[in-house]
Amino acid sequence: MRERNLLILLGIILLVAFCLWIDLPQTEALSLQLGPLKIYREIKFRLGLDLRGGLQVVLEADPPPGEKVTPESMEAVRNIIQNRVDGMGVVEAVVQRQGENRILVELPGLVNPDEAIATLKATGRLEFVEAGLTPLPEGLKILTTYEVPLEPSPTETITPTPGAAPTPTPTITPTVTLTPTTEITPTPQVYRTIMTGKHLKSARVGSDEFGRPEIDFELTREGAEIFAKYTTEHQGEFLAIVMDGIVISCPQIKEPITDGMGRITSEKGFTLEEARRLAIILQYGALPVPLKVIQTRIIGPTLGQDSIQKSIRAGIIGVIVVLTFMLTYYRLPGFLADLALISYGLINLAIYKFGIPGLFPGVTLSLPGITGFLLSTGMAVDANILIFERMKEELRQGRPLSAAIEAGFNRAWTSIRDANLSTLLTCIVLYWFGSNFGASMVKGFAVTLFIGVCVSMFTAVTMTRTLVTFVFDLSGRFLEKRRWLLGV
């Protein structure tokens, strides 16, 4: 028993020391090399918009000539942009309409600006385009019947192919090649759009048989019907998948696709970021109005730098008061609880900075998140109070010290367990809502509270118990005689 306790104690000390190292401001990365195994992980605090400021992007509607921008379409644009931002996993971004035709986006601290802007401003017009018998190279910009009406006006003949009629039959024209042709003025080829992103039900990132990222999509019922008909009739031909007029993929139709499920792969292979970006854009549909970026810049925190610093100092004062109170009120166990509480803080901060390898990369902190942390700290202290009050009760009833300690932990456990379980359940509900309905504030709060409650179960129960048992083992008799040390 005693050896086991010592082992646990050693483990705890190591863990807390490791967390302390991560928490140190000068620690910037964990870099380990164990033979062939290389571990590299960046370690830094990610702070939200309210605490640190971030990137502000102003987007302006850029409608085609002759089209008007209505408030309704701007609101639709705002919602799509909000969804894309949330889909990027950015916490607590702000997306607001500004003036008549602008959208103001504020992204907290550490986002890759280029990638974020690319995701925001993409119109997201997806088309499935008939490519004929030769594949179109990826990255080629093409014209489609979606933009250019197919009926040629009688005064001009665009296509050199005889008998080009405005019928939707596939014309087997040679595709545009990049070799110089004898024609001096090559007429732009217009490709036929089979269907658009309108018929897409959902899109998400998947991986192909080699583990490379791809985009898996599902079509609506109507879309699936169109797709099934087309792929049955055009087996062996190529089908270009086009986003905002640029070919992103051009697979060959190997067999009819009737179940409305498909995937987009790239010859050169998508990077994970690319795949994710495309999936986000596809998932939330095309913008009703194209946008252009008119301004990007770095801005300060919404809560104000000085206000935050003051509040953090004040919070620290508050915590010191709590630590002192626990020490004076519960004496020796109070001191041990203080140790557990300080460790609790260190472990939490380390998780925010470092994440949990394999689970999540860290937490972006903002005021709601800090509130979740504060609440879970309150619960951590509460767990210790429950245990010690129970111990005192048992001692007052005349039990010997060791039995009282044992009973204190065991009896307090049920209430700690149930109170914390109900909190964890609440967190799960809030997180789910926060992720699905764009209430990302709620999400930030739920994440830190959940982590905090899990950590507090460990520090307030396991750790305090190990410490108390250990100290008691060393000085049991001494304590038996000096009960004032236990605050009884």
Binding site: L303, R313, L367, D382, I385, F437, G438, M441, V442
Partner: protein
């Protein structure tokens, strides 16, 4: 101390004394502003002003200027060089705009107005709705969980329902007081208010479960004792812990309220009020309600009223 349960109706009365004015304030607000509280620009949208100064400016001081003129609902951000201020505030009329800009000139010297236009709400209706739905869903989850956790005690459902009633009580106290403050001193609910309420709810349930847990433990031990005696005993046994935990929360929040930044004062106040209410309601509402239910006092009361009228 010993007659919390005996004097239960006094304590219910005290709760109503706080909640009813709050509800009245919400009704007045609803009639006056179209919402139970004064809404901040997070919900309503407002004006975005962008000013370029010739020297570095402090966001906190600009914020103070706005607050002193009665526009507490303002966020100020600066760009990287700290000379350009982005100010989001209530829609100002021409007169107010001139006044505010005059004050700013006095404080920081001349500036150029780069932009002055309207902005939409940062928190859309759907977000507010999602948060509300989340709380309702969470309440049901908590209710089912308590019923499950107390399945060995007779009438487990009562415990769940009383915990939820206590939670609703705390939300009403916090929102009601905020509504009153809105009418009297112009407080406005912003996006942070949602977070504050979530915290209050979390704490409230935690607190109630701890007290109920004692009742659960004492019930099989003391078979044959009247329910009221068991409940009173359980309350006394957990009273210390409730007090100490509450004190600790008050320590931290008061420190932030006294020494913290101006921009989060309202937020911390809601937390403080809500947490105090959370402790109060678990001791003086949730537990006595169990007794009321056990004694079928409501049914008896209704029967008495009918007996009198017939």
């Amino acid at each position: 101390m010993y007659n919390i349960i005996e004097k239960r109706y006094w304590f219910f009365g005290l709760s109503l004394l706080i909640i009813i004015p709050g509800l009245i304030a919400m009704a007045i607000s609803l009639a006056r502003f179209g919402a139970p509280w004064k809404l901040s620009i997070d919900f309503t949208g407002g004006t975005l002003m962008e000013l370029r100064f010739e020297q570095k400016v402090s966001p906190e001081r600009i914020y103070t200027i706005f607050t002193n003129l009665g526009y507490g609902d303002t966020t100020v951000q600066t760009t990287a060089d700290e000379k350009t201020a982005l100010i989001k505030c209530k829609t100002l009329d021409e007169e107010a705009k001139v006044k505010v800009q005059e004050e700013l000139r006095k404080e920081f010297g001349p500036f150029e107005e780069l932009r002055y236009e309207s902005i939409g709400p940062a928190v859309g209706r759907e977000v507010t709705r999602a948060a509300t739905l989340a709380v309702i869903a969470a309440s049901f989850i908590i209710l089912s969980f308590i019923v499950f956790a107390f399945r060995k005690v007779p009438n487990a459902l009562r415990y769940g329902v009383c915990a939820i009633i206590a939670m609703v009580h705390d939300v009403l106290v916090a929102t009601g007081l905020f509504s009153i403050a809105g009418l009297l001193i112009g407080w406005e609910v912003d996006a942070l208010f949602i977070t504050a309420l979530l915290t209050v709810i979390g704490f409230s349930v935690q607190d109630t479960i701890v007290v109920f847990d004692r009742i659960r433990e004492n019930t099989p031990k003391r078979r044959g004792e009247p329910f009221e005696v068991i409940v009173t005993r359980s309350l006394l046994e957990t009273f210390h812990r409730s007090l100490v935990t509450q004190l600790n929360a008050i320590f931290v929040l008061s420190a932030i309220l006294l020494f913290g930044g101006a921009t989060i004062k309202q937020f911390v106040t809601v937390l403080l009020v809500g947490l105090m209410s959370g402790t109060y309601s678990s001791i003086f509402n949730a537990v006595p309600l169990l007794v009321v239910w056990e004694n079928r006092e409501i049914q008896k009361f209704i029967a008495r009223v009918f007996a009198r009228s017939s």
